[in-house]
Structure formats: C-alpha cells, structure tokens
Amino acid sequence: MLAQNVIFAAIALAMAAAALRVVTTKNIVHAALYLVVVLAGVAALYILLAAEFTAVVQVLVYIGAIVVLFLFGIMLTRAPIGVTSDLDNNQRGLAVVVSLFLFGVLGAVLNDAYGSTKLASDNVIQKSADVGNSIFQDYVIPFEIISILLLAALIGAVVIARRD
C-alpha cells in the first residue's frame, strides 16, 4: 500500500513538472520530448491501476506513433530548432487565470464528491481477454464506427496535405 503511494507520488511529480514544461518551454523540440515524459507517466498510472492492456496501447500509440508524428510536424514546418521566444501569444495572463480557476473548481468538486473514497486495496488485474470480450461483444458497433472514422481521417489527411 505504502509502496504504491510512493510510486504514485514520484510519477505524479514527474508528470506535473513535465506537463508544465510542455506548455512553457521555449524550445519546440523539447516540448515534444517533455510530452513523452507525460505520456509515459500516464502509462505508468495505468499499470498502477492494473490496466495493463491500456498501458501497452498507450506506449505503442502515443509514444510510438503520435510523438513521432509531432516530430515530423515540427520538422516539416521548419520550426526553429533552438530557443525561440515567439511561441506564446499575448494572452498568457488571462490563460493562467482561466486554468487556475478551472483547477480550483474541479479540485473543490472532486474533493467534495470523492474526498475519502478509496480504491479497493486488492486491485483486480483487468485481463486483456476481458477488454477484448467487452469491445467485441458490448461495444462492437462503436468499434466499427471508430474504424470508419480512422479510414476517413486517413483519407482526409492525405487529401488536405496533398500538393496539387
């Protein structure tokens, strides 16, 4: 129990620091690399919650594919690789106020609703087979719709980015 809490604290601190760096760093490539830390932390949280299949998918899809896509986007738009001061617009103060307000409201509501709710200490590992059964029995129609959506996104991305 204690070990879980210590690990959670370490992961949470790393994720919070990296997330803040993603939105404040002046180097766009560093932002992508800090994003990797956040995504890996999320995968570690999934393992802590005994959701192993989702953790593997998180690593494969996010760290393996989406971050690479971001790096390609950075390179193809010839972003300045070094430090640049031209990444933020002039509404930073307002954005800080909005997000702090949002965090205050969310934190208050969550503390009110789940302040003392504990997760079951004998966290049952949710097996990949159960996830598969759930997807292909109860959620097979959303699954098919997702596949059509991915096809549409694929074709759409090709059509938008094509040079003619």
Partner: protein
Amino acid sequence: MYLNQFLLLAAFLFCVGVYGVLARKNGVLVLMSVELILNAVNVNLVAFGAFHNTVVGQVFALFVIAIAAAEVGVGLAIVLLIYRNKQSIDLSEVDLMKG
C-alpha cells in the same frame, strides 16, 4: 490509494492543457496541449473503471486513444497546409474568417 489522487492529477493535467491551448500560438504546440487534455480524460476513465472494477473504463479509454490518433493526423495535415500557404504556423495570423 485514494481515487481522488488520480482524479486531481488528471484535473491538473487538464488545466495545464487548457493553459497551453489558450497561451500557445504555434500550431504544433496547440495540438500537443490538446493531447495533454485527452490524456487527462483517459486517466479519469481508467481510474473510474478500476474503482468500479469493470473493464468499460479501459474500453472507452481505448476509443479515446483511437480518436486522438485520428485527430493528430488530421490536425497536423491542417497545420502543414497552413504552413504551405502562409510560410508560418503562427495561429494568430490565421484570421481569414475574422469579421
């Protein structure tokens, strides 16, 4: 472990993502902030799934991951198109529809 620690961390990630979307003007960085927001939601889904001891939370998180992949693909294609037309991905210059 309390359920709340996961929910509060997810709320923090969400708010950081909101700040990024509002304060960044580079198109790629805005998309990264959107990814932070989507990940925060996924943490919530999986945490509630573990709390209720069901796999449905994971199933929804997987759907969100698939949609996030599609979103990044189309989003980066749009950013590339903006770059090709304007030689810059400064979103404050993309104001064709401003009244």
